[in-house]
């Protein structure tokens, strides 16, 4: 059997791109890493594997804790991690969702071609930068009062439709139609609401961005047609999350878990894995608060998309509807959701790995995806009618100097990853090192002169921290996803304009 060793962790090769850390000691399940040899070298280079192994200690973790091909070290649970826990006798872990609840991406298509846009790049990037709040203290598209915040938390994108910022067609092309009805705004703290109030419709900073892109490659013509994608088309990708409201919600519940479920926490190898037992009052309250923060994030991205439509209308001097600026899809990549999955069980009905199972049963699980994207294939009831027969779109952003990808949920995803795939390129280099290696203005100049990519940011340091060289090779991440059949390549895009905080 082929093995790889990283420190005290031995990985056994199960088959191509599938590696396993066997269950031992206090682990409640084995862990799996989905990666090529090249990606595994990066994944083994920091604490990703240790964090993945720690994640298997979560009570009720089912089948495997899984690391996606773009996985890297996070805090507690690794980024690129997927962990499904039983909703009856398992747990829900804010640490396995992450601070930026419903951080995610959406893509909007247009009927413009790259030729239509050429000559307007500078005007467009300036106008977008002016119109879309970004960075620290940049405010939001909407200044929310208490009532507005409550409404957004309770109704998500339905609020945006009523307020004139979204259309019914937008709702029909968003995960969960932009609304979690399990949302319980009363379980979101006042502190979190205070932080969210000034940030409704804002990018933030870090790796969040808005990018105008052109479609460069189509890999599956039939699926691309269903998604409304064609070569040379202009699309817009928006990447951000629930801002301070979501960050505070995660923080609040980590601290409550520390105080109210210390026994469970003491049994876990990392405090950041903080989990509330399934069925506990705290688990229910966190789930309700998290779902409310999910709604907030959808509205956040919707308001930015609304502003983008207005900017395009100004720059190209025509109504955005005439440019067919339609939401392709909006997908979350920091989330936990109750989902029903088929799992193998032992004679006592306990979920076990497939080789030890005597039969298969449907179980309701909290599927935690932290830096991982849901990738459901055709046939899952959660999919909107537009994609029910083709599989859901999955959007994988690359760095601002590399391509991004549109995939569709692959047939193998339910078996291998509880219906999940990667969420991006994955970082390779620390932010502190990036600032030593790169200078923001130089990165901007090189991108414009060599690649015709126009970048505008609030902070030069952010450009340096997000330079293309700090990320893994997104092509390799997507190749592994495609070859495993968890997310199939549909199209590739390349940046034209990029704004960030």
């Amino acid at each position: 059997m082929e093995t790889r060793e990283f420190g005290d962790i031995e990985l056994r090769r199960v088959r191509e791109h599938v590696w396993e850390i066997p269950q031992e000691g206090e682990m409640n399940a084995p862990a799996r890493v989905l990666a090529s040899e090249a990606l595994l070298d990066h994944i083994g280079d920091d604490k990703t594997l240790e964090q993945l192994r720690n994640a298997t200690h979560l009570p009720g973790i089912t089948k495997h804790a899984i690391c996606m091909p773009d996985g890297h070290q996070g805090y507690g649970f690794p980024v690129g991690g997927v962990g499904a826990t039983d909703t009856t006798d398992g747990c829900i872990s804010p640490g396995a969702v992450g601070y930026d609840i419903n951080c995610g991406v959406r893509m909007m298509t247009t009927n413009l071609t790259y030729e239509d846009l050429q000559g307007h790049e500078e005007e467009l990037v300036d106008a977008l930068f002016e119109a879309v709040p970004s960075g620290l203290g940049g405010g939001g598209v909407v200044k929310g009062d208490a009532e507005t915040i409550e409404d957004i938390l309770a109704r998500g994108m339905q609020w945006a439709v009523d307020a004139g910022y979204a259309t019914d067609d937008d709702l029909a092309h968003c995960e969960d139609e932009g609304f979690r009805d399990d949302a319980r705004p009363e379980f979101v703290s006042q502190k979190a609401k205070d932080r969210g109030r000034n940030q409704i419709g804002s990018l933030g900073s870090g790796n969040h961005f808005l990018e105008v892109q052109r479609v460069t490659d189509i890999y599956r013509e039939d699926v691309a047609e269903s998604f409304g994608l064609e070569a040379d088309q202009i699309v817009v990708l928006i990447h951000c999350g629930s801002r301070g409201l979501g960050h505070q919600t995660c923080t609040d519940y980590l601290r409550r878990i520390e105080k109210e479920h210390k026994d469970l926490l003491d049994g876990l190898p990392d405090k950041e894995l903080a989990a509330a037992p399934a069925g506990s009052e705290l688990a229910e309250e966190y789930y309700g608060a998290m779902c409310a923060a999910i709604n907030f994030a959808w509205v956040n991205r919707q308001l930015i998309m609304h502003r983008t439509r207005e900017v395009f209308a100004d720059v190209f001097d025509r109504d955005w509807r005439d440019m067919e600026m339609r939401l392709l899809y909006d997908v979350a990549h920091n989330i936990a959701k109750k989902e029903v999955h088929e799992v193998g069980v032992d004679p006592e009905g306990r979920p076990v790995r497939d080789g030890d199972a005597v039969e298969r049963e449907e179980r309701e699980l909290y599927v935690h995806r932290k830096g991982a994207t849901r990738a459901f294939p055709a046939g899952r009831p959660e999919l909107p009618p537009a994609y029910a027969d083709v599989g859901q779109p999955v959007i994988i952003p690359g760095s601002m100097g590399a391509g991004s990808y549109v995939l569709r949920g692959g047939d193998q995803s339910l078996d291998l990853t509880f219906g999940s795939t990667a969420h991006g390129a994955g970082r390779l280099m620390s932010r502190t090192k990036a600032k030593q290696e790169y200078w923001g203005e130089t990165v901007q100049d090189e991108l414009r002169e060599q690649e015709k990519i126009y970048v505008k940011a609030q902070s030069g340091a952010t450009v340096a921290e997000e330079a293309p060289g700090v990320y893994k090779d997104v092509d390799e991440v997507v190749r592994v996803s495609d070859e495993l059949g968890i997310g199939d390549k549909v199209a590739r895009t390349f940046p034209v304009c990029n704004i960030k905080g």
């Binding site: 070290q73 805090y75 960075g135 203290g137 870090g206 601290r255 502190t432 090192k433 030069g460």
Partner: protein
């Protein structure tokens, strides 16, 4: 005595030391400020606050969380931190202040949250040392 920003694949870590608990708390907070801004302006008014928690590590976590909260609701970058820490019965208390630099005066970027990941707060021969990872 002071802080150093340390490498972390996706986020930012601060290593700090100080002669007292209050000094190391303030040094970590200065590191948080440095993670958001390379060169904070000398403008802004000072503000004060107090935080209570059940233990020293929890207090450090809550203190840094409160600073991030104050940043967002006051619309300022907290800088030039001062802190004193004392025990009060079953709890620990930090009494702290910072200068709130208006966002308009600085080129700053977001730090989302403080984390417990790899957090260390320990007494040394020279005082106290701490290590904190922030989510960016």
């Amino acid at each position: 005595m002071g802080f150093t920003l340390r490498d972390h694949t996706a986020d930012v870590a601060v290593e700090a030391d100080g002669e007292s608990l209050g000094a190391v708390f303030a040094a970590v907070a200065d590191g948080l400020t440095a993670a958001m801004c390379d060169d904070p302006a000398e403008t802004g008014d000072r503000f004060s606050f107090a935080v209570r928690a059940e233990g020293r590590e929890a207090l450090l976590f809550d203190y840094l969380d409160q600073l991030i909260y104050e940043r967002d609701v006051r619309g300022v970058l907290p800088a030039a931190h001062e802190a004193t820490v004392r025990r009060a019965g079953d709890e620990w208390v930090v009494e702290a202040s910072a200068r709130g630099v208006p966002f308009a005066d600085v080129d700053a970027r977001d730090v989302k949250a403080v984390t417990y990941s790899e957090m260390r707060l320990a007494e040394t021969d020279a005082g106290w040392e701490a290590y904190v990872v922030f989510d960016v």
